[in-house]
Protein backbone atom coordinates (compact mmCIF):
# COMPACT_ATOMS: atom_id res chain seq x y z
CA UNK A 1 0.00 0.00 0.00
CA UNK A 2 1.27 3.42 -1.00
CA UNK A 3 -0.17 6.49 0.74
CA UNK A 4 0.53 10.13 0.01
CA UNK A 5 -0.57 12.79 2.50
CA UNK A 6 -0.66 16.49 1.55
CA UNK A 7 2.33 16.17 -0.76
CA UNK A 8 3.68 19.40 -2.19
CA UNK A 9 6.79 19.97 -4.26
CA UNK A 10 8.38 23.29 -5.06
CA UNK A 11 11.66 23.27 -7.00
CA UNK A 12 14.69 25.29 -5.90
CA UNK A 13 13.98 27.96 -8.51
CA UNK A 14 10.60 28.48 -6.82
CA UNK A 15 8.55 26.72 -9.49
CA UNK A 16 5.69 24.72 -7.91
CA UNK A 17 5.32 21.19 -9.31
CA UNK A 18 2.76 19.52 -7.03
CA UNK A 19 0.08 20.87 -4.67
CA UNK A 20 -1.46 19.07 -1.77
CA UNK A 21 -1.61 15.58 -3.30
CA UNK A 22 -3.49 12.92 -1.32
CA UNK A 23 -3.49 9.42 -2.75
CA UNK A 24 -3.85 5.75 -1.86
CA UNK A 25 -2.62 2.95 -4.10
CA UNK A 26 -3.40 -0.55 -2.76
CA UNK A 27 -0.96 -3.40 -3.32
CA UNK A 28 -1.46 -5.21 -6.63
CA UNK A 29 -3.15 -2.22 -8.23
CA UNK A 30 -2.47 -0.96 -11.75
CA UNK A 31 -2.57 2.84 -11.91
CA UNK A 32 -2.01 5.34 -14.68
CA UNK A 33 -0.83 8.83 -13.86
CA UNK A 34 -1.70 11.05 -16.74
CA UNK A 35 -1.87 14.68 -17.73
CA UNK A 36 -0.29 17.09 -20.16
CA UNK A 37 3.42 17.93 -20.20
CA UNK A 38 4.43 19.78 -17.04
CA UNK A 39 1.40 18.48 -15.11
CA UNK A 40 3.67 16.85 -12.50
CA UNK A 41 3.58 13.17 -13.56
CA UNK A 42 7.34 12.64 -13.57
CA UNK A 43 7.76 14.64 -10.35
CA UNK A 44 5.21 12.42 -8.63
CA UNK A 45 7.05 9.28 -9.77
CA UNK A 46 10.41 10.75 -8.67
CA UNK A 47 8.95 11.39 -5.21
CA UNK A 48 7.65 7.82 -5.03
CA UNK A 49 11.07 6.56 -6.08
CA UNK A 50 12.78 8.79 -3.49
CA UNK A 51 14.84 10.45 -6.23
CA UNK A 52 13.54 13.73 -4.77
CA UNK A 53 12.10 14.73 -1.43
CA UNK A 54 8.73 16.45 -1.18
CA UNK A 55 8.73 20.07 0.02
CA UNK A 56 5.93 19.07 2.38
CA UNK A 57 3.74 16.10 3.26
CA UNK A 58 4.47 12.45 3.95
CA UNK A 59 4.75 9.34 1.79
CA UNK A 60 4.15 5.92 3.29
CA UNK A 61 5.22 2.80 1.40
CA UNK A 62 4.46 -0.52 3.07
CA UNK A 63 4.02 1.37 6.34
CA UNK A 64 7.41 3.14 6.09
CA UNK A 65 7.67 6.91 5.85
CA UNK A 66 9.99 7.32 2.87
CA UNK A 67 10.46 11.05 3.41
CA UNK A 68 12.49 10.29 6.53
CA UNK A 69 14.80 7.60 5.14
CA UNK A 70 18.56 8.13 4.99
CA UNK A 71 20.50 7.43 1.79
CA UNK A 72 21.34 3.84 2.76
CA UNK A 73 17.72 2.98 3.53
CA UNK A 74 16.57 4.68 0.33
CA UNK A 75 19.00 2.41 -1.54
CA UNK A 76 17.59 -0.65 0.25
CA UNK A 77 14.00 0.46 -0.52
CA UNK A 78 14.83 0.86 -4.22
CA UNK A 79 15.94 -2.77 -4.39
CA UNK A 80 12.26 -3.77 -4.07
CA UNK A 81 11.14 -1.32 -6.75
CA UNK A 82 11.55 -1.66 -10.47
CA UNK A 83 11.73 1.64 -12.34
CA UNK A 84 11.62 2.09 -16.09
CA UNK A 85 12.95 5.48 -17.07
CA UNK A 86 11.74 7.46 -20.02
CA UNK A 87 15.31 7.64 -21.39
CA UNK A 88 15.99 3.99 -20.36
CA UNK A 89 19.15 4.92 -18.38
CA UNK A 90 21.18 1.96 -19.61
CA UNK A 91 24.95 1.78 -19.29
CA UNK A 92 26.11 1.93 -22.89
CA UNK A 93 29.58 0.55 -22.12
CA UNK A 94 28.12 -2.65 -20.65
CA UNK A 95 26.38 -5.54 -22.39
CA UNK A 96 22.67 -6.28 -22.15
CA UNK A 97 23.48 -9.09 -19.72
CA UNK A 98 25.57 -6.80 -17.49
CA UNK A 99 22.91 -4.08 -17.51
CA UNK A 100 20.20 -6.49 -16.45
CA UNK A 101 22.48 -8.18 -13.89
CA UNK A 102 23.29 -4.89 -12.15
CA UNK A 103 20.40 -4.85 -9.61
CA UNK A 104 21.26 -8.44 -8.62
CA UNK A 105 24.95 -7.58 -8.19
CA UNK A 106 23.88 -4.70 -5.95
CA UNK A 107 21.98 -7.25 -3.86
CA UNK A 108 25.10 -9.47 -3.76
CA UNK A 109 23.34 -12.36 -5.48
CA UNK A 110 25.48 -15.39 -6.31
CA UNK A 111 27.03 -15.78 -9.76
CA UNK A 112 24.79 -18.74 -10.52
CA UNK A 113 21.63 -16.93 -9.40
CA UNK A 114 22.53 -13.92 -11.54
CA UNK A 115 23.14 -16.05 -14.65
CA UNK A 116 19.88 -17.97 -14.25
CA UNK A 117 17.67 -15.04 -13.35
CA UNK A 118 19.06 -12.68 -16.03
CA UNK A 119 18.58 -15.33 -18.72
CA UNK A 120 15.00 -15.99 -17.54
CA UNK A 121 14.03 -12.34 -17.56
CA UNK A 122 15.68 -11.68 -20.93
CA UNK A 123 13.74 -14.64 -22.28
CA UNK A 124 10.57 -13.10 -20.83
CA UNK A 125 11.14 -9.85 -22.76
CA UNK A 126 12.35 -11.77 -25.84
CA UNK A 127 15.98 -10.63 -25.85
CA UNK A 128 17.80 -13.76 -24.71
CA UNK A 129 19.64 -13.98 -28.03
CA UNK A 130 21.09 -10.46 -27.66
CA UNK A 131 22.58 -10.69 -24.20
CA UNK A 132 26.14 -9.91 -25.33
CA UNK A 133 25.13 -6.83 -27.34
CA UNK A 134 25.68 -3.28 -26.10
CA UNK A 135 22.59 -1.03 -25.75
CA UNK A 136 23.65 1.25 -28.61
CA UNK A 137 23.62 -1.76 -30.94
CA UNK A 138 19.89 -2.25 -30.21
CA UNK A 139 16.77 -0.51 -31.50
CA UNK A 140 14.75 1.85 -29.25
CA UNK A 141 12.17 -0.85 -28.58
CA UNK A 142 14.84 -3.37 -27.66
CA UNK A 143 16.50 -0.87 -25.32
CA UNK A 144 13.11 -0.33 -23.70
CA UNK A 145 12.79 -4.08 -23.17
CA UNK A 146 16.27 -4.23 -21.65
CA UNK A 147 15.17 -1.49 -19.24
CA UNK A 148 12.05 -3.53 -18.41
CA UNK A 149 14.15 -6.66 -17.89
CA UNK A 150 16.43 -4.74 -15.52
CA UNK A 151 13.39 -3.56 -13.56
CA UNK A 152 11.90 -7.07 -13.38
CA UNK A 153 15.04 -9.02 -12.57
CA UNK A 154 14.65 -8.47 -8.81
CA UNK A 155 10.96 -9.58 -8.79
CA UNK A 156 9.88 -6.11 -7.61
CA UNK A 157 6.80 -5.60 -5.48
CA UNK A 158 6.27 -2.28 -7.23
CA UNK A 159 6.98 -1.41 -10.85
CA UNK A 160 7.00 2.22 -12.00
CA UNK A 161 7.39 3.40 -15.57
CA UNK A 162 7.77 6.96 -16.82
CA UNK A 163 6.32 7.38 -20.32
CA UNK A 164 7.24 3.80 -21.30
CA UNK A 165 5.64 4.02 -24.72
CA UNK A 166 6.63 7.59 -25.52
CA UNK A 167 9.46 6.69 -27.90
CA UNK A 168 7.99 3.55 -29.38
CA UNK A 169 5.91 2.78 -32.46
CA UNK A 170 2.34 1.64 -32.00
CA UNK A 171 2.86 -2.12 -32.19
CA UNK A 172 5.76 -2.06 -29.80
CA UNK A 173 3.82 0.16 -27.37
CA UNK A 174 0.97 -2.38 -27.34
CA UNK A 175 3.46 -5.16 -26.71
CA UNK A 176 5.00 -3.28 -23.77
CA UNK A 177 1.58 -2.55 -22.26
CA UNK A 178 0.63 -6.22 -22.58
CA UNK A 179 3.80 -7.05 -20.73
CA UNK A 180 2.87 -4.63 -17.91
CA UNK A 181 -0.55 -6.24 -17.68
CA UNK A 182 1.02 -9.69 -17.31
CA UNK A 183 3.41 -8.38 -14.65
CA UNK A 184 0.48 -6.84 -12.75
CA UNK A 185 -1.46 -10.10 -12.97
CA UNK A 186 1.42 -11.82 -11.19
CA UNK A 187 0.77 -9.56 -8.16
CA UNK A 188 3.14 -6.64 -8.75
CA UNK A 189 1.79 -3.14 -8.22
CA UNK A 190 2.25 -1.15 -11.44
CA UNK A 191 2.28 2.63 -11.76
CA UNK A 192 2.64 4.05 -15.26
CA UNK A 193 3.00 7.75 -16.04
CA UNK A 194 1.79 8.40 -19.57
CA UNK A 195 -0.03 10.87 -21.74
CA UNK A 196 -0.71 8.27 -24.44
CA UNK A 197 -4.54 8.46 -24.59
CA UNK A 198 -4.82 5.55 -26.99
CA UNK A 199 -3.10 3.22 -24.52
CA UNK A 200 -5.33 4.51 -21.71
CA UNK A 201 -8.37 3.58 -23.76
CA UNK A 202 -7.02 0.30 -24.99
CA UNK A 203 -5.84 -0.89 -21.56
CA UNK A 204 -8.30 0.78 -19.18
CA UNK A 205 -7.24 0.96 -15.53
CA UNK A 206 -7.52 3.32 -12.61
CA UNK A 207 -6.39 6.69 -13.96
CA UNK A 208 -5.19 9.65 -11.93
CA UNK A 209 -5.18 12.84 -13.94
CA UNK A 210 -2.92 15.71 -12.98
CA UNK A 211 -3.11 19.31 -14.11
CA UNK A 212 -0.71 22.01 -12.94
CA UNK A 213 0.34 19.84 -10.01
CA UNK A 214 -3.18 19.07 -8.80
CA UNK A 215 -5.22 15.86 -9.06
CA UNK A 216 -8.22 16.78 -11.15
CA UNK A 217 -9.66 13.27 -11.44
CA UNK A 218 -9.09 9.80 -10.05
CA UNK A 219 -11.24 7.41 -12.03
CA UNK A 220 -11.68 3.68 -11.65
CA UNK A 221 -11.67 1.59 -14.85
CA UNK A 222 -14.99 0.79 -16.49
CA UNK A 223 -16.42 -2.40 -14.98
CA UNK A 224 -16.63 -4.22 -18.31
CA UNK A 225 -14.50 -7.24 -19.29
CA UNK A 226 -12.54 -7.30 -15.99
CA UNK A 227 -9.89 -4.77 -16.99
CA UNK A 228 -8.34 -6.83 -19.75
CA UNK A 229 -7.26 -5.34 -23.01
CA UNK A 230 -9.59 -5.48 -25.96
CA UNK A 231 -7.57 -6.39 -29.01
Amino acid sequence: MIQLFNIGKIYQNGAPALHDINLKIPSGDFVYITGSSGAGKSTLLRLLYCAQKPSRGQILMGGRNTTRLNSRNIALLRRDIGFIFQDFKLLNARTVFENVALPLQVKAASHREISTRVYQVLQYVGLEYKLQRKPLELSGGEQQRVAIARALVVNPRLLMADEPTGNLDHELAVEIMQMFTRINESGTTVIVATHDKEMLQRFPRRTIMLHDGNIISDSAPPPTDSNTESL
Binding site: Y49, A51, S71, R72, I74, A75, L76, L77, R78, R79, I81, F83, F85, K89, L90, L91, A93, L102, P103, Q105, V106, K107, A108, A109, S110, H111, R150, V154
Partner: protein, 297 residues
Protein backbone atom coordinates in the same frame (compact mmCIF):
# COMPACT_ATOMS: atom_id res chain seq x y z
CA UNK B 1 32.54 -12.88 -1.27
CA UNK B 2 30.33 -12.18 -4.30
CA UNK B 3 30.58 -8.48 -3.51
CA UNK B 4 34.38 -8.58 -3.25
CA UNK B 5 34.56 -10.45 -6.57
CA UNK B 6 32.29 -7.81 -8.11
CA UNK B 7 34.49 -4.96 -6.80
CA UNK B 8 37.70 -6.55 -8.14
CA UNK B 9 36.09 -7.32 -11.50
CA UNK B 10 34.63 -3.81 -11.76
CA UNK B 11 37.95 -2.18 -10.87
CA UNK B 12 39.90 -4.15 -13.48
CA UNK B 13 37.14 -3.84 -16.05
CA UNK B 14 36.82 -0.06 -15.62
CA UNK B 15 40.55 0.37 -16.13
CA UNK B 16 40.42 -1.74 -19.29
CA UNK B 17 37.21 -0.12 -20.46
CA UNK B 18 38.55 3.45 -20.62
CA UNK B 19 42.26 3.03 -21.37
CA UNK B 20 42.70 6.67 -22.36
CA UNK B 21 41.26 8.10 -19.14
CA UNK B 22 43.10 5.49 -17.11
CA UNK B 23 46.42 6.25 -18.85
CA UNK B 24 45.89 9.99 -18.37
CA UNK B 25 45.37 9.50 -14.63
CA UNK B 26 48.33 7.14 -14.26
CA UNK B 27 50.51 9.51 -16.33
CA UNK B 28 49.54 12.50 -14.19
CA UNK B 29 50.21 10.58 -10.99
CA UNK B 30 53.54 9.35 -12.39
CA UNK B 31 54.77 12.82 -13.43
CA UNK B 32 53.62 14.52 -10.23
CA UNK B 33 55.13 11.83 -8.02
CA UNK B 34 58.34 11.70 -10.08
CA UNK B 35 58.90 15.40 -9.32
CA UNK B 36 58.25 14.71 -5.67
CA UNK B 37 60.49 11.61 -5.64
CA UNK B 38 63.33 13.46 -7.38
CA UNK B 39 63.02 16.33 -4.93
CA UNK B 40 63.11 13.80 -2.05
CA UNK B 41 66.17 12.21 -3.64
CA UNK B 42 68.00 15.54 -3.70
CA UNK B 43 66.99 16.35 -0.10
CA UNK B 44 68.06 12.84 0.97
CA UNK B 45 71.51 13.23 -0.60
CA UNK B 46 71.99 16.75 0.73
CA UNK B 47 71.12 15.41 4.19
CA UNK B 48 73.71 12.66 3.74
CA UNK B 49 76.26 15.28 2.75
CA UNK B 50 75.54 17.47 5.78
CA UNK B 51 75.72 14.39 7.97
CA UNK B 52 79.23 13.82 6.60
CA UNK B 53 80.13 17.45 7.34
CA UNK B 54 78.74 17.20 10.83
CA UNK B 55 81.24 14.46 11.70
CA UNK B 56 83.78 17.31 11.92
CA UNK B 57 81.83 18.83 14.80
CA UNK B 58 83.75 17.97 17.95
CA UNK B 59 84.85 19.58 21.18
CA UNK B 60 88.60 19.57 21.86
CA UNK B 61 89.73 19.88 25.48
CA UNK B 62 93.39 20.92 25.73
CA UNK B 63 95.05 19.51 28.82
CA UNK B 64 97.60 21.48 30.87
CA UNK B 65 99.42 18.36 31.89
CA UNK B 66 99.75 14.87 30.47
CA UNK B 67 97.32 12.78 32.53
CA UNK B 68 98.21 9.49 34.14
CA UNK B 69 96.59 6.38 32.67
CA UNK B 70 94.23 6.07 35.62
CA UNK B 71 93.14 9.67 35.36
CA UNK B 72 92.66 9.40 31.63
CA UNK B 73 90.55 6.31 32.16
CA UNK B 74 88.46 8.13 34.77
CA UNK B 75 87.93 11.20 32.54
CA UNK B 76 86.98 9.10 29.54
CA UNK B 77 84.40 7.18 31.58
CA UNK B 78 83.05 10.42 33.07
CA UNK B 79 82.70 12.08 29.66
CA UNK B 80 81.15 9.02 28.01
CA UNK B 81 78.39 9.19 30.64
CA UNK B 82 77.31 12.63 29.41
CA UNK B 83 74.37 12.57 27.04
CA UNK B 84 75.02 13.24 23.35
CA UNK B 85 78.66 12.03 23.50
CA UNK B 86 79.53 9.52 20.80
CA UNK B 87 83.28 9.01 21.25
CA UNK B 88 86.24 10.28 23.28
CA UNK B 89 89.68 10.13 21.73
CA UNK B 90 92.90 11.00 23.60
CA UNK B 91 95.53 12.76 21.47
CA UNK B 92 99.02 12.52 22.94
CA UNK B 93 101.59 15.30 22.54
CA UNK B 94 103.50 13.12 20.08
CA UNK B 95 100.35 12.51 17.96
CA UNK B 96 99.53 16.23 18.04
CA UNK B 97 103.07 17.08 16.91
CA UNK B 98 102.89 14.56 14.04
CA UNK B 99 99.53 15.95 12.87
CA UNK B 100 100.91 19.49 12.99
CA UNK B 101 103.97 18.37 11.06
CA UNK B 102 101.76 16.77 8.45
CA UNK B 103 99.57 19.85 8.11
CA UNK B 104 102.51 22.14 7.57
CA UNK B 105 103.44 20.09 4.53
CA UNK B 106 106.31 21.78 2.67
CA UNK B 107 106.83 24.18 5.61
CA UNK B 108 107.34 21.32 8.07
CA UNK B 109 111.00 22.25 8.43
CA UNK B 110 109.87 25.15 10.61
CA UNK B 111 109.40 22.57 13.37
CA UNK B 112 113.03 21.43 13.20
CA UNK B 113 114.65 21.42 16.61
CA UNK B 114 111.35 21.62 18.44
CA UNK B 115 110.12 18.89 20.77
CA UNK B 116 106.58 17.41 20.79
CA UNK B 117 106.11 18.81 24.31
CA UNK B 118 105.50 22.28 22.87
CA UNK B 119 101.96 21.11 22.01
CA UNK B 120 99.42 20.15 24.66
CA UNK B 121 97.78 16.72 24.84
CA UNK B 122 94.05 16.85 24.17
CA UNK B 123 90.76 15.00 24.41
CA UNK B 124 88.73 15.02 21.19
CA UNK B 125 85.05 14.51 21.99
CA UNK B 126 82.69 13.62 19.12
CA UNK B 127 78.99 14.36 19.52
CA UNK B 128 76.06 12.11 18.73
CA UNK B 129 74.36 13.04 15.43
CA UNK B 130 71.35 14.61 17.12
CA UNK B 131 73.56 17.00 19.12
CA UNK B 132 75.78 18.17 16.27
CA UNK B 133 74.79 21.83 16.50
CA UNK B 134 75.85 24.97 18.36
CA UNK B 135 73.32 24.25 21.08
CA UNK B 136 74.48 20.66 21.57
CA UNK B 137 78.10 21.72 21.67
CA UNK B 138 77.48 24.45 24.24
CA UNK B 139 75.45 22.05 26.36
CA UNK B 140 78.39 19.61 26.39
CA UNK B 141 80.89 22.34 27.25
CA UNK B 142 78.66 23.37 30.15
CA UNK B 143 78.91 19.82 31.50
CA UNK B 144 82.69 19.57 30.87
CA UNK B 145 83.26 22.79 32.81
CA UNK B 146 82.13 21.01 35.97
CA UNK B 147 85.53 19.26 35.89
CA UNK B 148 88.14 21.78 37.06
CA UNK B 149 90.88 20.09 35.02
CA UNK B 150 89.08 21.14 31.81
CA UNK B 151 89.17 24.85 31.03
CA UNK B 152 90.58 25.25 27.56
CA UNK B 153 88.02 24.32 24.93
CA UNK B 154 87.95 24.68 21.14
CA UNK B 155 84.93 23.86 18.98
CA UNK B 156 85.13 26.05 15.86
CA UNK B 157 82.40 28.56 16.74
CA UNK B 158 82.37 30.35 13.37
CA UNK B 159 82.23 27.13 11.38
CA UNK B 160 79.45 25.86 13.64
CA UNK B 161 77.41 29.05 13.13
CA UNK B 162 77.70 28.72 9.37
CA UNK B 163 76.80 25.02 9.57
CA UNK B 164 73.73 25.77 11.72
CA UNK B 165 72.59 28.53 9.35
CA UNK B 166 72.96 26.36 6.24
CA UNK B 167 71.12 23.44 7.89
CA UNK B 168 68.28 25.78 8.89
CA UNK B 169 68.07 27.12 5.34
CA UNK B 170 68.09 23.63 3.86
CA UNK B 171 65.36 22.43 6.20
CA UNK B 172 63.20 25.51 5.57
CA UNK B 173 63.59 25.21 1.80
CA UNK B 174 62.98 21.46 1.95
CA UNK B 175 59.84 21.79 4.07
CA UNK B 176 58.37 24.62 1.99
CA UNK B 177 59.15 23.09 -1.39
CA UNK B 178 58.13 19.59 -0.21
CA UNK B 179 54.85 20.86 1.24
CA UNK B 180 54.11 22.79 -1.93
CA UNK B 181 54.92 19.77 -4.09
CA UNK B 182 52.68 17.43 -2.06
CA UNK B 183 49.83 19.94 -2.19
CA UNK B 184 50.28 20.47 -5.94
CA UNK B 185 50.44 16.70 -6.49
CA UNK B 186 47.20 16.13 -4.56
CA UNK B 187 45.53 18.98 -6.45
CA UNK B 188 46.60 17.71 -9.89
CA UNK B 189 45.74 14.07 -9.15
CA UNK B 190 42.41 14.95 -7.54
CA UNK B 191 41.41 17.08 -10.55
CA UNK B 192 42.44 14.44 -13.07
CA UNK B 193 40.45 11.76 -11.24
CA UNK B 194 37.56 14.23 -10.93
CA UNK B 195 37.50 14.52 -14.73
CA UNK B 196 37.46 10.74 -15.16
CA UNK B 197 34.64 10.41 -12.63
CA UNK B 198 32.74 13.26 -14.28
CA UNK B 199 32.96 11.35 -17.58
CA UNK B 200 31.26 8.41 -15.84
CA UNK B 201 28.66 10.34 -13.83
CA UNK B 202 25.80 8.55 -15.66
CA UNK B 203 27.06 5.26 -14.27
CA UNK B 204 27.10 6.72 -10.75
CA UNK B 205 23.54 8.01 -11.16
CA UNK B 206 22.18 4.74 -12.56
CA UNK B 207 23.85 2.70 -9.84
CA UNK B 208 22.13 4.86 -7.23
CA UNK B 209 18.76 4.57 -8.97
CA UNK B 210 18.78 0.77 -9.00
CA UNK B 211 19.40 0.51 -5.27
CA UNK B 212 23.18 0.59 -4.78
CA UNK B 213 24.28 2.04 -1.45
CA UNK B 214 26.74 4.96 -1.56
CA UNK B 215 29.58 2.69 -0.43
CA UNK B 216 28.77 0.09 -3.10
CA UNK B 217 29.00 2.80 -5.76
CA UNK B 218 32.15 4.39 -4.39
CA UNK B 219 34.21 1.30 -3.56
CA UNK B 220 35.22 0.28 -7.14
CA UNK B 221 36.09 3.89 -7.98
CA UNK B 222 38.23 4.27 -4.86
CA UNK B 223 39.93 0.92 -5.56
CA UNK B 224 40.54 2.08 -9.13
CA UNK B 225 42.04 5.37 -7.85
CA UNK B 226 44.28 3.46 -5.44
CA UNK B 227 45.45 1.07 -8.22
CA UNK B 228 46.18 3.98 -10.54
CA UNK B 229 48.06 5.68 -7.68
CA UNK B 230 50.22 2.58 -7.10
CA UNK B 231 50.97 2.08 -10.81
CA UNK B 232 51.74 5.81 -11.19
CA UNK B 233 54.05 5.72 -8.15
CA UNK B 234 55.95 2.70 -9.54
CA UNK B 235 56.39 4.50 -12.87
CA UNK B 236 57.48 7.63 -10.97
CA UNK B 237 60.16 5.63 -9.14
CA UNK B 238 61.34 4.16 -12.44
CA UNK B 239 61.53 7.64 -14.00
CA UNK B 240 63.24 9.01 -10.93
CA UNK B 241 65.80 6.22 -11.11
CA UNK B 242 66.57 7.16 -14.72
CA UNK B 243 67.00 10.83 -13.72
CA UNK B 244 69.21 9.75 -10.83
CA UNK B 245 71.35 7.54 -13.04
CA UNK B 246 71.85 9.96 -15.93
CA UNK B 247 71.87 13.34 -14.15
CA UNK B 248 73.20 12.65 -10.67
CA UNK B 249 75.29 9.50 -10.94
CA UNK B 250 76.75 10.01 -14.45
CA UNK B 251 76.38 13.78 -14.87
CA UNK B 252 77.62 14.92 -11.46
CA UNK B 253 80.36 12.28 -11.41
CA UNK B 254 81.96 14.17 -14.28
CA UNK B 255 81.97 17.38 -12.21
CA UNK B 256 82.66 16.11 -8.69
CA UNK B 257 85.50 14.03 -7.29
CA UNK B 258 85.02 10.27 -7.42
CA UNK B 259 84.60 10.12 -3.64
CA UNK B 260 81.86 12.77 -3.68
CA UNK B 261 80.05 11.05 -6.56
CA UNK B 262 80.19 7.75 -4.71
CA UNK B 263 78.32 9.33 -1.81
CA UNK B 264 75.27 9.97 -4.03
CA UNK B 265 72.72 7.21 -3.48
CA UNK B 266 69.25 6.40 -4.77
CA UNK B 267 66.32 6.52 -2.35
CA UNK B 268 66.44 3.70 0.21
CA UNK B 269 63.71 1.03 0.17
CA UNK B 270 61.77 2.68 3.00
CA UNK B 271 61.53 5.93 0.99
CA UNK B 272 60.49 4.00 -2.13
CA UNK B 273 57.79 2.26 -0.10
CA UNK B 274 56.73 5.69 1.15
CA UNK B 275 56.36 7.02 -2.40
CA UNK B 276 54.23 3.99 -3.39
CA UNK B 277 52.11 4.38 -0.24
CA UNK B 278 51.74 8.09 -1.06
CA UNK B 279 50.59 7.16 -4.60
CA UNK B 280 48.02 4.77 -3.14
CA UNK B 281 46.81 7.39 -0.66
CA UNK B 282 46.64 10.19 -3.25
CA UNK B 283 44.71 7.96 -5.67
CA UNK B 284 42.34 6.94 -2.90
CA UNK B 285 41.75 10.46 -1.54
CA UNK B 286 41.74 11.91 -5.06
CA UNK B 287 38.81 9.59 -5.89
CA UNK B 288 37.02 10.04 -2.60
CA UNK B 289 36.78 13.85 -2.81
CA UNK B 290 34.93 14.11 -6.16
CA UNK B 291 32.84 10.98 -5.37
CA UNK B 292 31.40 12.75 -2.35
CA UNK B 293 30.06 15.36 -4.73
CA UNK B 294 28.82 13.07 -7.50
CA UNK B 295 27.35 10.19 -5.49
CA UNK B 296 24.05 11.43 -4.16
CA UNK B 297 21.29 8.94 -3.43
Amino acid sequence: MERLRYFIQRTLFSMRQSPLLCSATIGTVAIALMLLAFFTLIVFNVQNLTREWSRDIQVIVYLDQVPSENKLQLWTEEIMQYPDVERVHYVTQQQAFERFHERLGQNADLLEGLLPEILPAALEISLAESARSREGTERLIGLLKSNKDFHDFRYGQEWLDRYDASIFLLRLTGTMAGGFLIFATLFIISNTIKLTIYARRDELEIMGLIGATPMFIKAPFMAEGACQGIIGACLALGGCHLLYYFFLKKGLAALLTTAAAQNIHFLPLAYQGGIIALGLLLGFIGSLLPLRKFVRI
